[in-house]
Amino acid sequence: MRLELKNIDKSFGEKQVLKGVSFTAESGKAFGLLGRNGAGKTTSIRILMNVFPANSGEVLVDGSPIDYGKIKIGYLPEERGLYPKKLIIDQLTYFAELKGMEKKEAVKAVDFWLDRLDMTEYRNKRLDTLSKGNQQKIQLVTALAHDPQIVILDEPFSGLDPVNAILLKDVVKEQISKGKIVLFSSHQMSYIEEFCDSIAIINAGRVALHGDLYDIKRNYPRDRLVVHTTKPQQIREDFGSACTDGENGALMIQLADPGEKNAVMKRLVENFDIDEVKVFEPSLNDIFVQYAGEQV
């Protein structure tokens, strides 16, 4: 399955929030939707979920307009919150029923997910008696219980302790391997890098960058080397201004031409005490800052 947003425009009053947003996500893969606060991520997600219509543009599944009666979407909103005073089983069943499940299967699915997330003991408790992290896990059930084809997770890892983060990672991997479209939105780049094969960076209502994460990284000019060494001083003297300090005590060597990469590597290994030398690839963080950091 292929989900496609095509040329989406959206204005609220005078303010144009989305300007021709397009991106594609495929099943069996995770897709990262990135952008700074207020860039238009949530608006894009809401249009995708048919909360309100776009002024122009289309949401397509496998090339034809999405049928919300058939395609089920699960959504974990960034602004978390359910009914604080109601029993967990009651409200989770209610949400699953709203998404079209029969009462019985809804209860069954909810119980399955409570068990999967180690939350069964809270089944008959009121939501406001739970800790924040546990409330978040409960909220995750509303996104997954009805077995949606598209799962949208907005900042899924915020507020989770490391153990719960691992649990959630497993769940997400499971969803991806089941062939679902998993759409991530997060500011925690490490998670996006870990899961997402392709990304779109939205900046001020436009898609600033879109594509396969591996390709994006590869397309950066391969003209810098990262060098780990025990004797940095000798290299600094040898390379002069081409050598600067990189991250984590590494040295960064700027090449005059990407073509001299192998020659320089060889020279380094032969002449100096080298632990590791590799071509510099930008982290997602660097890419994000570069594309989303410009003007808002």
């Binding site: 009053g13 809401r46 978390r80 919150g81 359910l82 009914y83 109601k86 209610y94 079209g100």
Partner: protein, 410 residues
């Protein structure tokens, strides 16, 4: 449709599990029960007290014959008093009253002139009014005797009675006033109470951010209609509980109420009036509840609800005042009422009042109901629209203008 049913059930269960809702219902049923048992309770106290504690009314006159004549007339006319002739002087009489051994006294100068002495004159003291009627009779009889009529003849003249029958060909306002009053009061209370509940319900979903999941799971129209209908059903359940228990307790105490016409007539409401009452009640409730729901969706904090709902509450109170004033004036067919009985926001009260208290042609009733149903559905969908826009607006409460713009575009 399935979604609507799910929401309706969920919301209704919310009401049934709400401690405040259940508590007030039980409280009202108990209050009604006590009210209905009042005649039995007072009867219990009365039988214990007996007749010995009647207050004393003194008759004082220089002329002993006059005093005795007055006493003869007063005794049967004041059954709650022990009517006695006063001994001693006027000062003694006053002393007895201040001391409390007598409650009041009539000091007669002549049959047509007296002074009434009482310790504390209460607001509802009708003794002088009654005494004057009696004294007029005394004077007339004395005069007739003086002009030579025999006591029997005088008696005959005094006891002439006029026979009369009143048949209301239209409506009996006195009788139906009560139904109108009950219906309008019930509607007033229920709309203000439940309207606020609907608004709070929507606003709390918004402030708890449950809305984020709800708007992506259910259609706004299902949400709005589900919520409002659930509150309407909850309101009706509460009313049925209260009036139903009133009926049960009334029947338990029927003997004690005896021939209390007011109470009896409440429970003997004509079927057609009852049906009109139900129709106008439900529609009136719904149209206002939709408005309250829409307003609730535009508030971003629960604290804002009270100020946000003010315009609707004013609208409703104005409608209430118009109807109440026309009702008490007795002229329910004035132009204002006629106009109001077709405007959807006032017609539930205005038209029902007119149906009860005057004769309204059937086509006017039909027109009013059709307009009301149409606008209730219209307001329902409009409020669903406002809801779908309003629930996603956080921050400051949006201005009416910007909501209208957003709804127009959506």
């Amino acid at each position: 449709m399935k979604q609507f049913g799910t929401i309706l059930k969920f919301e209704l269960r919310g009401y049934m599990k709400n401690k405040v809702f259940v508590g007030t219902t039980i409280f009202m049923v108990i209050a009604i029960a006590i009210a209905m048992f009042i005649p039995n309770i007072t009867a219990m106290f009365k039988s214990e007290d007996g007749a010995k504690d009647k207050s004393v009314m003194l008759i004082y006159a220089q002329d002993g014959e006059l005093a005795d004549l007055v006493r003869q007339y007063f005794e049967p006319a004041f059954p709650d008093y022990e009517v006695k002739l006063a001994d001693g002087t006027l000062e003694d009489v006053k002393a007895q009253i201040t001391a409390g051994s007598a409650e009041c006294a009539f000091a007669m100068d002549s049959a047509s002139s007296y002074t009434y002495y009482v310790n504390n004159l209460t607001m509802y003291d009708s003794n002088t009014a009654a005494a004057e009627t009696l004294l007029k009779e005394v004077c007339r009889v004395t005069a007739m005797l003086q002009y030579g009529l025999s006591p029997e003849q005088a008696e005959k003249v005094m006891s002439v009675e006029i026979e009369s029958n009143v048949t209301a060909l239209g409506k009996d306002q006195g009788q139906n006033f009560l139904y109108t009053y009950i219906m309008i009061m019930a509607l007033y209370m229920v709309i203000l109470l439940y309207g606020q509940m609907v608004a709070t319900n929507v606003a709390s979903e918004k402030s708890s951010r449950a809305m984020e999941v709800l708007v992506t799971s259910a259609k706004p129209s299902s949400m709005m209609f589900g919520k409002v209908l659930a509150s309407c059903i909850a309101g009706l359940i509460q009313l049925v509980a209260v009036f139903g228990s009133a009926l049960v307790f009334y029947n338990l105490n029927k003997a004690a109420w005896g021939d209390n016409r007011i109470i009896a007539s409440i429970f003997n409401i004509p079927v057609n009036l009852f049906i009109y009452m139900l129709v106008y009640f439900v529609l009136g409730f719904l149209i206002y509840a939709f408005l309250y729901g829409a307003i609730g969706s535009t508030a971003s904090k629960l604290e804002d609800i009270n100020t946000s709902v003010m315009p609707i509450t004013f609208l409703f109170i104005i409608a209430f005042m118009v109807v109440m004033m026309s009702m008490t004036s007795g002229n329910t067919d004035n132009t204002l009422m006629k106009v109001c009985s077709f405007i959807p926001f006032t017609s539930p009260m205005a038209m029902f009042t007119r149906i009860c208290m005057s004769t309204v042609p059937w086509h006017e009733i039909a027109l009013s109901i059709v307009i009301l149903i149409g606008s209730t559905v219209g307001v329902g969908f409009l409020s669903a629209k406002i809801y779908s826009v309003g629930v996603l607006l956080y921050g400051t409460t949006p201005k009416i203008g910007s909501i209208i713009k957003a709804v127009w575009k959506a």
